[in-house]
């Protein structure tokens, strides 16, 4: 193993353990980061395959491929796998890899817990996939046809697969909370001497806020689904009006988690952008302090506007007015973030390598998704948009650019650091263009479908909706298949390629670029001094 330039005594470094023990028993933040990223990559393909099946079914009116329950089972699984299996673990993988290297720490603060929080995930994913598969076995009950929101009373009707799903959510929640505790402890205690909170790299800030959000909201979801479990099996009536309960209560609990979850998915990618855009604009991030402030504001306001997902449940005028105004106000900190990114690009000396292409894509398309979000926040107009394809288009415009493209940008940005090889830039750019064009062809027409009156989560539709569904499905095939290119690029880069320098990008700043590419198994065993 090579040693880093800044560590001086590596006599005790025996390098990485060999064989499966290296991974199963790993307490090394880099290995666990790799595990998270590989897990996320696998889940991306599982979730993507289900999305492509959904779009194939919607290619034409009529029911061709999937029976209605299987269709909604796929809808449910697509969402849960993408959110809990792909985006969150990928963001956690980036955190594991980068946070210790960025703050000059030798590892995460709680390495064994780090191991646990990863290895819960495969178990949780197994439970999640079982919830999908079980109904196909004799006596397996009905399929989960509720969507990821699992609203009762429909979710009470579902067979035993719902119980698998509830336990999967518990496990995923435990994993997330453990990882969050680890990140918070690491960031608060393990920063290199001289690195004050307001000198911390922005990616670390975004993850600090994300981790607090996770700890605050995941237990609420766990409580909600536990109550659901009790309603299903132990005769309670939390969500059953006939027993004095209220079906809407579940929606409040769910979205109290579900809305902050949007920011949980989003913020780590905002953190990645805060590194990528300055690096390729060759000038410092514009408005570091306002970025931190905006992020905390987003998280705080985001915690208290959950009911804008439920404008149609019959809340009082006062309540909906509050949730509407609160939601619209989120545009202020989010607008400031976007502004800061644009101002970072402004008067920079930009080059457009793949990470930067994704970053620019995010700035443009996330702005678009954010603006349709303001439209949705307006209660009277939402009486039309609610539960239509317009909403589907909106949240994919928020989550694909906002979360997934940010992760892609991060992967391409740091891949040379991780592997020691430069990825194939031509293929990277090809991936960007097929991916982004495919994405827009898929989701842009869905706005029109929603406005014209097509509800979401329907397996079959009237011929009046055919044209845009055809376009959307064709786009989805391009979009889905483009990810094979990502897989190819990643494998190719791992196996070889042009040797990456320690500072792989001309404009890259930060402690991680002081280390070798790839870095030694243990880095920053002696903390750097920050001036």
């Amino acid at each position: 193993m090579s040693t880093t330039t800044l560590t001086h005594d590596e006599a005790h470094d025996h390098g990485a353990p060999k064989g499966w023990r290296r991974w199963l028993f790993s307490t090394n933040h880099k290995d666990i980061g790799t595990l998270y990223l590989l897990f996320a990559l696998i889940m991306l393909f599982v979730g993507g395959a289900s999305a492509m099946l959904i779009r194939m079914e919607l290619f034409q009116p009529g029911i061709q491929l999937l029976d209605p329950d299987l269709y909604n089972n796929l809808v449910t699984n697509h969402a849960l796998i993408m959110i809990f299996g792909a985006v969150m673990p990928a963001a956690a993988g980036l955190a594991n890899w980068m946070i210790p290297m960025m703050i000059g720490a030798p590892d995460m603060a709680l390495p064994r817990m780090n191991n646990l929080s990863f290895w819960i995930l495969p178990a949780a994913a197994t439970m999640l996939l079982l919830s999908f598969v079980v109904p196909f076995f004799p006596g397996g009950g009905t399929q989960i046809n509720t969507g990821w929101t699992i609203y009762p009373p429909l979710s009470v009707q579902v067979g035993m697969s719902m119980d698998f799903l509830i336990f999967a959510i518990h496990l995923l929640g435990i994993s997330s909370v453990l990882a969050s505790i680890n990140i918070i402890v690491t960031l608060l205690n393990m920063r290199a001497p001289g690195m004050k909170m307001l000198k911390m790299p922005m990616f670390c800030w975004t993850w600090l806020v994300t981790a607090f959000l996770l700890i605050l909201v995941v237990p609420v979801l766990a409580g909600g689904v536990t109550m659901l479990l009790f309603d299903r099996h132990f005769g309670t009536s939390f969500f059953d009006a006939a027993g004095g309960g209220d079906p809407v209560l579940f929606q409040h609990l769910f979205w109290f988690f579900g809305h902050p979850e949007v920011y949980i998915l989003l913020l780590p990618s905002i953190g990645v952008l805060s590194h990528v855009i300055p690096a390729f604009s060759r000038k410092p991030l514009f408005g570091y302090n306002s970025m931190v402030g905006a992020m905390i504001a987003v998280a705080t306001i985001g915690m208290v506007v959950w009911a804008h997902h439920q404008y149609t449940i019959g809340m009082s005028l006062g309540a909906v007015t509050y949730f509407m105004i609160g939601t619209i106000l989120i545009s202020i900190p989010v607008g400031l973030m976007i502004f800061n990114f644009i101002a970072t690009m402004w008067r920079g000396a930009m080059t457009f390598e793949t990470p930067m292409l994704f970053a620019v894509g995010i700035v443009l398309m996330f702005t678009f998704g954010g603006l349709s979000g303001v439209m949705l926040a307006v209660v009277p107009a939402d009486m039309q948009y609610h539960d239509s394809m317009f909403v589907v288009a909106h949240f994919h415009y928020v989550l694909m650019p906002g979360a997934v493209f940010g992760l892609f940008a991060g992967v391409f940005y740091w891949l040379p650091k991780w592997t020691g090889h430069m990825y194939d830039e031509k293929l990277g750019k090809l991936f960007f263009w097929t991916n982004v064009i495919g994405f827009n062809i898929t989701f842009f027409p869905q706005h029109f479908l929603g406005l014209a009156g097509m509800p979401r989560r329907i397996v079959d539709y009237n011929v009046m909706f055919t044209e845009f569904n055809v376009i959307s499905s064709v786009g989805a095939m391009v979009f889905g298949l483009s990810h094979l290119l990502l897989l190819y690029i990643v494998i190719k880069t791992i196996r070889g390629g042009k040797k990456a320098e320690s500072r792989a990008w001309e404009g890259a700043k930060g402690l991680e670029w002081e280390l070798d590419s790839p870095p030694a198994f243990h880095t920053w065993t002696v903390a750097p001094q920050i001036k």
Binding site: G314, M324, R347
Partner: protein, 397 residues
Amino acid sequence: MSHTNKSKRPYLPSRPRALLASLPPLDRRMIVSSGLLLTGLLFHSQARAEYGLNFPEPAAGVAQEIYDIHMLTMGIATVLLIIVFAIVFYSLYFHRKSRGYHADQNFHTSWFGHWSWVIVPVMVLGVDLTIAGKADIVLKKVWDVPKEENIMDVKVTGHQWWWEFDYLDHNIKVESRYIPEEQSGDLYLREVDNPLVLPTGVKIRFLHTSADVLHAFWVPELAVKKDAIPGYITETWAELNREGIFRGQCAELCGTWHSRMPIVVESVSQDKFAAWVDGQKAIKVAAAAEASADKTWSMDELMTKGKTLYETKCAACHQVTGLGLPPAFPPLNGSVLTTGPIADHLNIVINGKEGTAMQPWGTLNDLEIAAIVTYERNAWDNKTGDVVQPADVKQAR
């Protein structure tokens, strides 16, 4: 303004003009120009009428206001988007290394860098307040159901997977179900057997509830969408301002056949509505008379009646073939229930089965239940030969 539903004339709402006129000239110009641009981009040719790019033409006052606020926010969003795109593309073109541009390392320390965190939020707040201010006014109109003596009440009950409309003031009930593709053709999933007939020019209050899981009543022309929640009642209102046929669908995922819950509103003049009400009442009286007649029905009569009833009310789940869709919807062909004791069979039809999608059908009259049960016991391979009379049903209740 008398448009028919099928009008393909490009529709320019009058309200946005009024809204625009109230704005300062600069805003007005921006919105109009963005609107034109949007029109150019999206609404070119006659595609709009065929593909449906925007909300359909509203058919109620409140729907019109919602349409207007939608156009306003979309206009503002478009303007902002154009500004952002313009700035970004300018920067992408001019501030690039390949053009020899040198990064301005002090941009973030200029006065602009120091104060942008105040300037930008204040500007965004201005936009926010513009939107929220307009929205708040419309919201009050949408939310506050007029408290008037003569408001017409329609109770809308969502079922898996059909709608029940109770005209509370007229003592009429309408059951509304989708029509299979063979009969509905191009209107498949947008056509029902019995539409919701409503009069124009009358304030109508919809009281939404559900018999099983969540549903949501959504007709875009009326712009009212509210969840139907079992055990709770939510309310919306509308006053139709033109005649026509307006189609919508259930918007809240309600299980297997969520896609098969169309809603068709037939908006008619008050005279026609009154005639329709009289007709419905006459049908109801005749049906009640038939059911209560102390008559013993023959197997054939019951089978004919039963087949029709079964295919409208039961076949969505148990299928026309009686094979069901296991495991959610058990088969009736050759099942223990339909070939075993009649009492058990009647019990489950009248009272439903808790914890499943099988709902109680006790609201049907004795004759209808007798016909359904007789049919189920003799259709397909069941051939039990049992004839269940209305009197048996009365006893079983």
